[in-house]
């Protein structure tokens, strides 16, 4: 059965092969093609639109199949960060190098996702700006950063 709701692209960026997951991760998602990558597996989650409970299981089972390989998660949107917080095995032993943090303006309703590198969030804490400049004024962090970065406590050093 063709799964037109999910796609994997593998591209080389800066000499590193990266896996770009796109669309909706559910029970029909197939990660087999990722296994052919040699060395560190860098997963880019930027274009993941949704993930359901069976998609989480499929991903966790995939991680078990590549036990021992170094895995890096990058550009994790809130939808992925929530899963890392709710289901620790979704993160496994992966290292997270960057996440998108949601900001919002209550005045203008403007919403923005801002990418932060791992230097801004560690198990010891996080150093994010409480506010950023939006198109029409100040925007504030959308949510509780303590909860949002709870996954860092489970992250391998």
């Amino acid at each position: 059965m063709i799964n037109d709701r999910f796609k994997i692209d593998i591209a080389t960026e800066g000499g590193v092969q990266k896996v770009f997951l796109r669309g909706n991760i559910d029970e029909d998602a197939d990660f087999e093609s990722i296994k052919k990558i040699t060395g560190t597996i860098v997963i880019n989650f930027k274009d993941v639109k949704s993930i359901n409970s069976c998609g989480i299981r499929t991903w966790v089972n995939f991680l078990k199949e590549i036990t021992g390989r170094q895995v890096v998660y990058e550009e994790c949107p809130p939808i992925i960060v929530r899963q890392m917080n709710m289901v620790p095995s979704f993160l496994g032993t992966a290292k997270v190098t960057s996440v998108y943090v949601p900001y919002v303006s209550d005045e203008t309703d403007e919403e923005k996702l801002v990418l932060f590198g791992a230097d801004k969030f560690t198990a010891a804490g996080f150093t994010l700006p409480d506010t950023i400049n939006g198109d029409d004024g100040e925007m504030e962090l959308d949510g509780n950063p303590q909860q949002y970065f709870a996954f860092t406590k489970k992250m391998a050093a």
């Binding site: 359901n52 939808i79 929530r82 709710m86």
Partner: protein, 243 residues
């Protein structure tokens, strides 16, 4: 450790707890058999708790303050593949713009509740009638109903099935496994066993009404960030045994 001002009571067979709980503490109450868990700074004066107790000797479950009295958008689902389009349809009909964070949460909750209703609510000979690995077309008497309403403060969502198999024990077991053990994910079942946990973890108010072998109605309130209060949460289960 949360400060707990807990009051356990058995009134007309109703096990209820009220206090300040984290979600994990609330889940433990449910896992221990408590069907009504109310987290509120108002304690026993909390209107949801009061309404729950008042309904103890009544046949019908209460309608809570967070359940909309006004018109909701309703959609009937009979095909599993359609579930992917339902959320966009609901959102497109909403007069209120739903912000991205809230939209994602509602979409996730809807997906889990719809999947449960379509794939796991109907049993034949004690086994699930439909498989997740196939496209499912429900019979006309099995149609799943979705109700939705968005406000400035959050979204109301309700999913009803006519299977009536979501027993309290199943909910309690699911929460116990997901909050209290390392084996969150079921590997041998058709579902991952995470759905109820993900919903419980995400929503502010959750009400499950189960009429065995007749219907299960799951209603929930997902608060917008601005009105979300981690110290305001309720879980209420009404009904008898399921499978």
């Amino acid at each position: 450790m949360a400060k707990v001002a807990k009051k356990q009571r058995a009134q007309a067979g109703m096990a209820a707890a009220v206090g300040i709980f984290t979600k994990a503490e609330a889940a433990k109450q449910v896992a221990d058999g408590v069907r009504h868990v109310h987290c509120s700074e108002l304690g026993t004066r909390d209107p949801i708790y009061v309404a729950t107790l008042a309904a103890a000797d009544k046949v019908a479950p209460p309608r809570y303050l967070w359940e909309p009295s006004l018109k909701t958008t309703e959609i009937v689902v009979t095909h599993s593949v359609d579930r992917h389009e339902i959320f966009d349809q609901l959102i497109s009909k909403s007069a209120v713009e739903v912000k991205r964070q809230l939209r994602e949460k509602v979409g996730m909750v809807l997906e889990e509740l719809l999947s449960n209703a379509i794939f796991h609510a109907f049993h034949t000979d004690g086994k699930e009638k439909y498989s997740r690995s196939a496209d499912v077309s429900l019979n006309s008497n099995e149609a799943v109903k979705v109700r939705f309403a968005a406000t400035e403060d959050g979204c109301f969502l309700e999913v009803s099935d006519t299977g009536g198999t979501l027993g309290f024990e199943s909910v309690a077991e699911s929460l116990k496994r997901c909050y209290q053990s390392d084996a969150q994910i079921q590997s041998k079942e058709s579902g991952a066993g995470l759905g109820i946990y993900m919903v419980f973890e995400t929503v502010s108010h959750l009400k499950i009404v189960n009429e065995p072998n007749k219907k299960t109605v799951i209603s929930c309130w997902i608060a917008d960030r601005r009105s979300e209060n981690p110290k305001s949460f309720s879980f209420n289960y009404f009904g008898g045994k399921g499978k």
